[in-house]
């Protein structure tokens, strides 16, 4: 093969080959792909435990033993939160897209990027090993004193969470510097795609919130080995303090999960409706506002924990403060559709599915933020359904939206719309069948983490289990569409969706160093040629 021919077809996927060329790469695109593959593998594992949990709950009478059930839901929650949802979008699509959207060759610190992937792999193996070998059955929240009294695993589990957290600190740091320093000429803060605004806000949270888990870990070690009472009431400590530390980290982390999802939706809803985003500043600003206020609401997980009523009231009030920017975002997305040219394709189906799911997730947060109603709903299936609608439905639907939208860019292959659209509708319906019954069961008073339950909840629990099996099936459908595309898909054109952001300015799939020359940003990412500029002139 001549040097010329290689050059023509060369892209980041085939430039070099072999295990080492991938595992030791510093290319953000390859790292993004490897993250995506790893995260989806863990998603499959965490999802299998979810299926096991739903299988157990088909009947009011238990099939699994209590301790096996408790381990299953702990593994499900811990794997999904720490290994899947936290890195889901930032580490995979974020890594792949940030430099491309900025018009940069790579992230600011490529070797640090590789290090954070290796730390993630090590942390993931460490975390899962300790959970499995230690038989951790505390739930993903590891509340003391249960976790410290009846198991010794809270220290190792939190150590695993911290190693994983360290990986996300490094990724966050890398992204902040990259977005600050490596924007293409002409790309001002007002012209960067909204996905990058979302990633920027996410990165800030990752860098600021994750160290708290390290502090908690140190305190637990000090308590265990020096006998200084911090969380253990037997030593004069306070178990509720652990919850404060835990949620001071874990609440901001839910915005690490959902903000990138907002970013993806802001991109796909404009490109596939050929409209300028409605209220760019409001959407960008609300991401940062949510990130900032998100640090001040952790106490809403603890209204009933014995914290003072005054604190409960303050946390309730601030929590409503998060609802406002969130409502602004949803309204802006829907307004973006107005008088657009909306493509009914797979990406748009998942985008609309996201809006429905997130609207339910967001609105059901209101009775949980309200003090007197939260008393009834706290720790019931209503809460389970609520956070699955936001964290799981929201993040997963956005992630799938993003995977389909940038699939041609990542792989150079198109996928089948004929298969993609029906699968998306099936996924949407079965998702709702899974979780709507949980709202009702929870409202009627079914507590969470019960491995057997009252006969009156059997109907709803069974519907939910059936829904979850169908939803699991639909995700295999998604996998089928993607694998079919890899094997049989047509070659993708450079810009299949006619996008304007810089990642579409380069070859598909991109060459190893992203761009042939330094791209220059001349217009905003949402000023599509389809927009009727005449109408604007006429209106003026």
């Amino acid at each position: 093969m001549s040097a010329e021919a290689t050059h023509d077809d060369s892209n980041y996927l085939n430039a070099t080959s072999g295990f080492k060329s991938w595992f030791m790469t510093v290319d953000h695109k390859r790292l993004g792909i490897m993250y995506l593959a790893t995260i989806l593998t863990f998603f499959l594992i965490g999802g299998s435990f979810a299926m096991l949990v739903r299988y157990e709950l088909l009947d009011a009478a238990p099939t699994l033993s209590a301790s096996n059930y408790n381990k299953a839901f702990t593994l499900h929650g811990a794997i999904m939160v720490f290994l899947v949802l936290v890195p889901a979008i930032p580490a995979s699509l974020g890594n792949f897209l940030i430099p491309l959207m900025l018009g940069a060759k790579d992230v600011a610190f490529p070797k640090l990027n590789r290090l954070s992937f290796h730390i993630y792999l090590f942390g993931a193996l460490f975390f899962v090993t300790t959970l499995v070998l230690g038989g951790v059955d505390t739930g993903w929240t590891f509340y003391t004193p249960y976790s410290s009294k009846y198991g010794t695993n809270v220290i190792t589990a939190l150590a695993g969470a911290f190693i994983l957290g360290f990986s996300s600190i490094l990724t966050g740091l890398n992204f902040i510097v990259t977005i600050h320093k490596m924007r293409a000429p002409g790309m001002t803060w007002g012209k960067i795609p909204l996905f990058l605004w979302a990633m920027y806000a996410t990165s800030l949270i990752q860098v600021l919130a994750t160290p708290v888990i390290a502090v908690t870990l140190v305190l637990l070690v000090v308590e265990r080995f020096m006998g200084i009472g911090i969380f253990d009431p037997a030593l004069g400590g306070d178990p509720v303090l652990f919850q404060h530390f835990f949620w001071f980290y874990s609440h901001p982390v839910v915005y690490v999960m959902i903000l990138p999802a907002f970013g993806i939706i802001s991109e796909t809803i404009t490109i596939h409706s050929r409209k300028h985003i409605f209220g760019y500043t409001a959407i960008a600003g609300s991401s940062v506002a949510i990130a900032a206020v998100g640090f001040l609401v952790w106490g809403h997980h603890m209204f009933l924990s014995g914290q003072s009523e005054t604190m409960g009231a303050i946390f309730s009030f601030i929590t409503f403060g998060v609802a406002v920017p969130t409502a602004i975002k949803v309204c802006s997305w829907i307004a973006t559709l107005y008088k657009g040219n909306i493509r009914w394709n797979t990406v748009m189906m998942y985008t609309l599915g996201f809006l429905w799911i997130f609207a339910i997730g967001g609105l059901t947060g209101l009775p949980l933020a309200t003090l007197s109603t939260d008393v009834h709903l706290h720790d019931t299936y209503f809460v389970v359904a609520h956070f699955h609608y936001t964290m799981m439905g929201g993040v997963l639907f956005a992630l799938i939206t993003g995977i389909f939208h940038w699939w041609p860019k990542m792989t150079g292959k198109m996928f089948s719309e004929k298969a993609g659209v029906p699968v998306s509708i099936f996924a949407f319906l079965s998702y709702n069948l899974t979780f709507i019954p949980q709202f009702i069961a929870g409202h009627r008073g079914m507590p969470r983490r019960y491995h057997e339950y009252l006969p009156q909840f059997e109907e709803m629990m069974r519907l939910s289990s059936i829904g979850s099996f169908l939803f699991g099936l639909s995700l295999f459908g998604v996998l089928f569409v993607l694998i079919h595309s890899l094997l049989k898909g047509e070659k993708a054109p450079q810009n299949p969706w006619q996008g304007l952001s810089l990642e579409w300015e380069t070859a598909t799939p991109p060459i190893e160093h992203n761009f042939e020359g330094q791209p220059i940003c001349t217009c905003g990412p949402y000023e599509f040629p389809d927009i009727d500029v005449k109408e604007r002139v006429a209106a003026k």
């Binding site: 009947d59 009478a61 033993s65 209590a66 408790n70 059955d137 509340y143 004193p145 009431p233 178990p239 300028h276 409605f278 209220g279 760019y280 409001a282 009933l304 924990s305 014995g306 309730s316 009030f317 409503f320 406002v324 602004i328 802006s332 829907i334 307004a335 559709l337 107005y338 008088k339 657009g340 040219n341 009914w344 748009m348 809006l355 429905w356 609105l363 059901t364 209101l366 009775p367 933020a369 309200t370 003090l371 007197s372 109603t373 008393v375 009834h376 706290h378 720790d379 709202f439 009627r444 008073g445 507590p447 019960y450 491995h451 057997e452 339950y453 009252l454 006969p455 009727d532 604007r536």
Partner: protein, 400 residues
């Protein structure tokens, strides 16, 4: 506020399908708040999703040459959808806050009940009424009851859906909660756990089998009230009370633990039994006069059953063969036991006695090595340990 309250009351439906029965004075207020929030949510959801589907259909792809509207934002519209929800959110906060304050500050004259939670059962002590202990939360109807709660081990949470109350129970300090019931509502069968060992697979065959004394449909409370009534009538035949246990009216509500506390978390259950104030007085009197040995004279096995229920044994040991944290008692007596260290023995009187006194010494293989927590004083009363043990052994013998 008055207007808000009026609006939400008007919107509150009588027993919406997603609500458990509202049986406390607090419940109505909470349900009004729910209904206000859900109506707001419903309007927003319908408007937003309606617009979304409408746009998706009306502005469906009209080909690549179709021009779209040049619209980058609209300040008035953005202000409207920022400010209007803010007002509604503040209203929700205020309603939730006032409701919450009402539920945390108990009236001064409330009946006090101390709740002690431990893995995996609840016990209810009446400090101002004689200091006796009950396995069910027995309360007078339409009278304020204040709960002062503490845990002996990990975190638990005390939840009565019908009253809309819930509060975490901590090992290192008291938490409290109060309620006042509104009527004598008897929860339906499928709203109650019969016992921690309730076997769902044969629910049809034995719907009301009171396998464990304290978990029946308040039968023991009814019989205590009726017996006391009969006794009091001997002194004063004019007395108006019910001496037939069948006719004693009670309200029944399920209590759950809602803070995950280990293996039998989903079996950490109890019931609220609501009595009319007159019957409650009789019940209190019966509790203060209750002497197990007299009550069960001539039936040692029954006395043993009473002790196992008082000691909370059923939290781990089933009597119907179902799995638990500890081995089941069904068919235990005379059975070959296999221990974790490989040795074995036949379960005879001596084995059962030693298993209670030194539970960690010989642990049946497959069960926690730490054995079980034992407090013989609490279960039997001081000086009655040997008699109590003998009674338990007789009871286990009957579980074939």
């Amino acid at each position: 506020m008055t207007v808000l309250y009026w609006i939400s009351t008007a919107m509150a439906q009588e027993s919406a399908f997603y609500m458990p029965k509202a049986a406390s004075t607090l419940a109505q207020d909470v349900d009004n708040t729910f209904s206000f929030i859900y109506w707001c949510c419903a309007v927003f959801f319908v408007v937003l999703m309606g617009a979304m589907f409408w746009f998706a259909v009306v502005y469906k792809d009209k080909g690549p040459d179709h021009k779209t509207l040049d619209l980058k934002g609209h300040h008035t519209l953005e202000l409207v959808w920022s400010i209007f929800p803010t007002f509604l959110l503040i209203a929700m906060f205020v309603m939730g806050f006032t409701g919450y304050v009402n539920s945390t500050v108990s009236p001064a004259d409330a009946v006090q009940v101390n709740i002690v939670a431990k893995r995996w059962d609840w016990s209810f002590v009446y400090p101002t009424l004689g200091g006796f202990e009950s396995r069910d939360l027995v309360v007078p109807n339409q009278d304020a009851v204040r709960l002062q709660m503490v845990s002996q081990d990990v975190l638990h949470s005390f939840y009565i859906p019908d009253f809309r109350i819930k509060k975490d129970v901590l090992p290192n300090r008291y938490t409290s909660q109060w309620f006042e019931t509104t009527d004598l509502y008897e929860a339906a069968d499928d709203e109650l756990f019969y016992s921690p060992n309730f076997n769902f697979s044969d629910a049809e065959e034995s719907p009301s089998g009171s396998k464990v004394l304290f978990t029946s449909r308040g039968a023991d409370v009814k019989s205590a009230v009726a017996t006391q009534c009969a006794k009091d009538k001997e002194d004063n035949p004019e007395l108006a009370c019910e001496s037939n246990p069948e006719n004693v009216k009670v309200g029944l509500h399920q209590i759950f633990c809602t803070e995950y506390c280990g293996d039998s978390h989903s079996r950490m259950l109890a019931k609220v039994v609501v009595l009319s104030p007159e019957n409650f007085e009789l019940w209190v009197k019966a509790q203060n006069n209750f002497d197990a040995e007299t009550a069960y004279a001539g039936d040692v096995a029954k006395l043993g059953e009473y002790y196992t229920s008082k000691g909370g044994c059923a939290g781990c040991h089933s009597v119907d063969g179902s799995a638990g944290t500890g081995p089941t008692w069904k068919g235990l007596y005379g059975k070959e036991r296999q221990f974790a260290d490989g040795s074995g023995t036949v379960a005879d009187d001596n084995y059962i006695r030693m298993s209670v006194l030194e539970p960690a010494k010989q642990v049946v293989s497959g069960y926690p090595a730490a054995g079980m927590p034992v407090n013989l004083h609490k279960a039997f009363g001081k000086g009655k340990e040997e008699a109590g043990l003998a009674a338990i052994i007789e009871y286990i013998k009957t579980l074939k």
